[in-house]
Symmetry: C2
Subunit: 349 residues, 2 copies
């Protein structure tokens, strides 16, 4: 039955047993009928019988070698892919990556060997093993656009997750502008006329998108907007400025900042949303399950991962049938929450 010894059963052995050539075995297995190749039913059956009796399976490794493709999708994360105490940013994305890979019959290669420099992995280093995979998905809050351009120039195929303002780079990103505008409009309709924006640095594309959408929409309605960069100024100082400025609504880019500012507000006896409205321009954090039900929006992260893999697969295999756009933007869902109300009549200062 099964060959219990002497290595695996190969097509050559099958061929011997069936009294045909090794090539014929391959032909039978792959059932090619393309260019007039036809195996008579009789020999076909004979070969298949032998195969069944030996529990032969084609060696995928050899198969890949001749195909050129390895059916291997690389996954490069700038930080640890799997969650540690402080962050499980990637898991929803990876869930999507996994399910798409599964559907497409691809295996995933995680580049965990890339050396960490200052806590971040480097794409380019002495022993870059990127080429182990057919192509790769790039994940990271902040990517170096210079590195991306260099990678593109090398001819390596990849898809970035998150919009990248670099020419010729495929990505699947999130449309942050639309939900930001939507929330800004809700704030305007609620009657707010003095707003504060606690944001991050404007280095990243997504931060700029939010910023532009918010300032645009508020300016159009003639609403005053004060800004501060939380990382630069510190949250305590941000909160001081919010109070000093008399804004009735506080937009916050980072959900964690939002939680802390909320705590500061609570400590000062400022009621939300009665005294001050809070709007978060991002994801409600999964972990903070016991936290505040912020008015915010949510990106379809799992789908983001799945789409990136599908897009990469298309790029690797060449176009066939309907084409996916190489630059996609996915929509967010606005979550009403409970922290956006009408402006306070009394001052909470």
């Amino acid at each position: 039955m099964t060959s219990s010894q002497g290595g695996r059963v190969t097509q050559r052995k099958i061929a011997e047993l069936a009294g045909v050539s090794q090539a014929t075995v391959s032909l039978v297995l792959n059932g090619r009928t393309d260019n007039g190749v036809r195996i008579p039913e009789e020999t076909r059956k004979r070969v298949l019988d032998v195969i069944k009796a030996t529990t032969y399976v084609a060696d995928p490794v050899a198969r890949s070698l001749v195909g050129g493709m390895n059916n291997l999708v690389g996954v490069f994360t700038y930080e640890h892919a799997f969650p540690n105490e402080t962050s499980d940013f990637y898991t929803p994305l990876l869930t999507g990556v996994e399910s798409a890979a599964e559907a497409l019959g691809l295996d995933l290669l995680m580049f965990t060997s890339a050396p960490l420099v200052d806590g971040r992995r480097r794409i380019f280093h002495e022993n870059s093993r990127l080429r182990l995979a057919d192509g790769c998905i790039l994940l990271g809050r902040k990517m170096d656009n210079g590195e991306l351009a260099k990678l593109r120039d090398s001819g390596y195929k990849f898809v970035a997750i998150g919009r990248r303002d670099v020419e010729g780079i495929a990505y699947v990103g999130v449309d942050y502008g639309t939900p930001t505008r939507e929330l800004a409009r809700q704030a305007i309709e609620a009657g707010h006329s003095a707003a504060f924006y606690a944001r991050l640095s404007l280095a990243g594309e997504s931060s700029r998108d939010r910023h532009d959408a918010l300032t645009d929409e508020l300016a159009a309605a003639g609403i005053a907007l004060t800004q501060a960069e939380t990382t630069a100024v510190g949250l305590a100082e941000v909160w001081r400025r919010v109070r000093a400025g008399g804004a009735t609504i506080l937009f916050v880019e980072d959900p964690k900042d939002a939680e802390e500012l909320y705590a500061l507000a609570a400590a000062d006896g400022v009621a939300v949303p009665d005294d001050l409205s809070f709007v978060v321009l991002g994801e409600r954090d999964r972990k903070g399950g016991c936290g505040v039900d912020f008015t915010c929006f949510s990106a379809p992260r799992t789908e983001l991962g799945a789409r990136a893999v599908a897009l990469l697969d298309q790029i690797l295999k060449g176009v066939q049938g309907p084409t996916l756009s190489t630059r996609q933007l996915l929509e967010c869902t606005v979550l009403p929450g409970r922290t956006l109300g009408v402006p306070s009549v009394r001052s909470y200062r």
Copy 2:
């Protein structure tokens, strides 16, 4: 600098650029010095320079075909590796796997292409790509011991996470017996004399370990123990039996079962631990952050993953220096919690 076109760079191309033979490139890469093979430093350097300039990496597929090492650790999970709504069982393990792989300079190959049959991945199937990796880590609540034996017989190197009662299989598992005995002893000391055990099926090694330790310890103290298998009987019925039996302490194997039973108790006005003590013989679930602070124990899952990779690495590379045991059992931490008290004087029935 980088080769901007024409598919992947091969050793042949490197050889051309460096003015040596393809075989020499291979020799340089693998640094073989076995049988008097020595490449002069000058050509060595020339070859390495070209390799660096082209970002060449040996094709893992070709390498596997001839039986070479790829510094690739496979990760096979019987279920989805990345969390979905219902489970993130694997993430702590994978966090450990990732950090160990990083430390050892290994990349991770996730076998996501293995087809799902009845929601579980199959190790053996037509296109099993296990061989792409040098060896692999096997993860899964339930593994088929027959499959494991078959895989062992095939000569493939792997390490299972979780103790496996199959000869000749390397594993890193958890010692469930010791903490179970410890908690049983605490129950005895508290004065309990009638206990109930709501457990899972005894098919898995870990379930049997808990069961044996618990029955052993309680029997030695002459304490009555009633058992029921939750999945077979249903939790409502289990709860009915607990009440009918008059036990003062309820041991529960599965944390989720524990949460539900706790809810049933609460619904019936049974106070924990005043009327009834709860002891969970397993992990407090990360997700149920807002839940009950059960008396239970916790397995070092992250370390489990890390150790498995270290062990596999040793097996693959052959012994060198201090040897890790091929069958390791890690210790749990007992978490006191708040659900184990002295037995109730009044009946809660």
